[in-house]
C-alpha cells in the first residue's frame, strides 16, 4: 500500500509533529517502504483468530483505594519548562 503526501500530512497533524515539504517527500518513500513490509500481513489467514493484545493470559490486579502519594510538587515542577503559582504554564490555544 502506498501512502500519499496528504496521508502523511494528516498523520503528522494527528501526531503533532511539524513536517516541511522536503520531509514529507522523504517520509513518503520511507513510510511507503515500511508499509510495503507490513503489507505481508495481508497474506496471513487470520479468520477465527483472536487478536492478541498481551503476551500473557493474565488478568488485571486491582489496587486498594488508599492514598499512597504525598505532595511532591516542588520536585516535579523543578524540572518543568514553565510554572507559576504552582501551575504548569503553556501557550494559549489559538482557535
Amino acid at each position: 500500500m502506498t501512502i500519499s503526501r496528504k496521508d502523511i500530512e494528516k498523520v503528522a497533524v494527528l501526531a503533532r509533529i511539524r513536517v516541511d515539504d522536503q520531509q514529507v517527500s522523504a517520509l513518503e518513500k520511507d513510510l511507503g517502504n515500511i508499509l510495503d513490509l507490513v503489507d505481508q500481513l495481508s497474506a496471513a489467514d487470520t479468520d477465527s483468530v483472536e487478536p492478541m493484545a498481551h503476551p500473557l493470559n493474565a488478568v488485571q490486579r486491582l489496587r486498594p483505594d488508599e492514598v499512597t502519594e504525598s505532595n511532591q510538587r516542588e520536585a516535579f515542577q523543578a524540572i518543568a519548562p514553565a510554572t507559576e503559582n504552582g501551575l504548569y504554564l503553556v501557550p494559549r490555544v489559538i482557535e
Binding site: R16, R18, L31, L37, V38, P55, L56, F76, Y88, P91
Partner: protein
Amino acid sequence: MHNKSVAELSRELESGKISSVELTREYLGRLRKEDEQLNSFISITEDQALADARAADEQRAAGKATPWTGVPFAHKDIFCTNGVATTCGSKMLANFVPPYDATVTSNFRNAGAVCLGKTNMDEFAMGSSTESSYFGATTNPWGLSRGEKRVPGGSSGGSAAAVAARLVPAATATDTGGSIRQPAALCGVTGLKPTYGRVSRYGMIAFASSLDQGGTMARTAEDNALMLNVMAGFDPKDSTSIDREVPDYTATLDEPLKGLKIGLPKEYFTGNLSAAMEEQVRGAIREYEKLGATVKEVSLPHADLAIAAYYVIAPAEASANLSRFDGARYGYRCKDPKDLLDMYTRTRAEGFGEEVKRRILVGTYALSAGYFDAYYLKAQKVRRLIQQDFINAFKEVDVLMSPTTPSPAFVQGEKTSDPVTMYLEDVFTIAINLAGIPAMSVPAGFVDGLPVGLQIIGDYFSEARLLNAAHQFQQVTDWHQREPQ
C-alpha cells in the same frame, strides 16, 4: 581486575582483597579513558558512584552484604534514576532528571550495587545500531584495532559495548524486538531477555508496552543469573508484572544438560543467513550434543510474518506512549512557541530524531480511522499465530536455538539510509517479543574476527533453564572470554 566477572568481583570484595571504593576508582579511571573511543556512556556519575561505593564498603563491614554489594555496573539510560539525568538517548529528555527511581534501579540500589553511569542507546530504544542516539553513535570495540568503526547493535548498544570492552562487568538493558540479544551478539557478550512481565517496567521509559522487557547483559551466563536475581520479581506498580515466585537463578546453573531437547527452527536457517554464520552456529550446537543434548528440526510456520506484525504493533503502541513528550511538564520545549499547537508540533519535531518520528507516524497511521482493522487488528491476530507456533514447538522440545543475527556487526552508516534494511537485523529476535517468551544470546564464535551470537529461546518463565544451558556451554567454550583489542 577489569577482566573479572561479577561473581569473581563479589568474592574478592567478600574476601576483603579489595574494597568497593578501590574497585570503583579503577573502573571509573578505565571508563574515562577508554570510552572516548566507544561513546558507550551518556553520563558517568563519578561522585555518586564513589559515595555508593563507600556506603557499600560500610554495609559489607557491617556484615550486611549481598552478592552485589560494592560491585560496579551501569544502567541503560532508559531506566529512571532519581537525581541522575535519564535521557533515553533523546534530545527530548537531554536535561530530564527524574525525581524517582525505576523499580529496576531501586532493586540494584537496595542490593548495594554501584552504578557508574548511564549507557548509550538508540533514541527511545528504536534502532538496531545505537546510531540514532542524540548523544552520538556508540562504536563496537570489535574491529576497532583494524581501524573499522562498526556498530555495537542496538538499542542497548552502549551496555553491550561497555561490557565487551570491560568498562563494566555488567549492565542493564531492555529488549523490545531484539535490543538485548542483537547487541550482545554483535559485541560478543551474553544477554538475556526475560519473559514478559518477569522484570518490572515501572520507571523504564516505554517504547512498546506489550513488548518491552528489561533484562541483563554481562560476559558470563552466571553474571546474567546474578543480575536477574536482583531484577526479577513482582512489582505492584506495574500492572503487567507477574506475581510468581523468583527462583535463585544461580542455583541451577550447574545442572547437566544430558537429555536436553533442542529444536532448530528451520525458518531461522535459511536465505538470510550467511554460510559462515551458519557454520559457527552449527558448531555451537555440536557442542551441546557433546554435552548430551539431542537436536531436531522444528518449524515456526509464521516466522516470516513476525517483522511485519512487529512494525505495526510496536509503532502503534509507541505513537501513544510518546505523546506525553509534549513540552508541557518536563523535557524539551521549543523556543518561543507562538501558541499551543506551535509548541506541540515544534517541540516534537525538534525534540525527536528521524527514526522516532517515522515510527510515531507509522503507528499513528496504523491506528487511524480506516486502517485500524487492516493493520493493527490484523497484526494482533498474526501475533497470536506466532505465539501459537512457539507453544507448539515447546510441546516437542525444551529450548530452541538459532543464530541471534543474520550477520555480524556492520559498519556504521551502512544501514542508516534505509530503515527497512535496519529492521531486518532483528529477523531472528523479533518473534520472541511478540510471543513474550525469554531468550538469550550467547557468544558462539567469530566470523571475520567479529563475534557471532547463538540465540537460545525458552518457554515462558524458563529463564533458569536458559541460563543453565548457556552456563554449561560456557564451561566448555571460551568465546565469551575473548577480549577485543
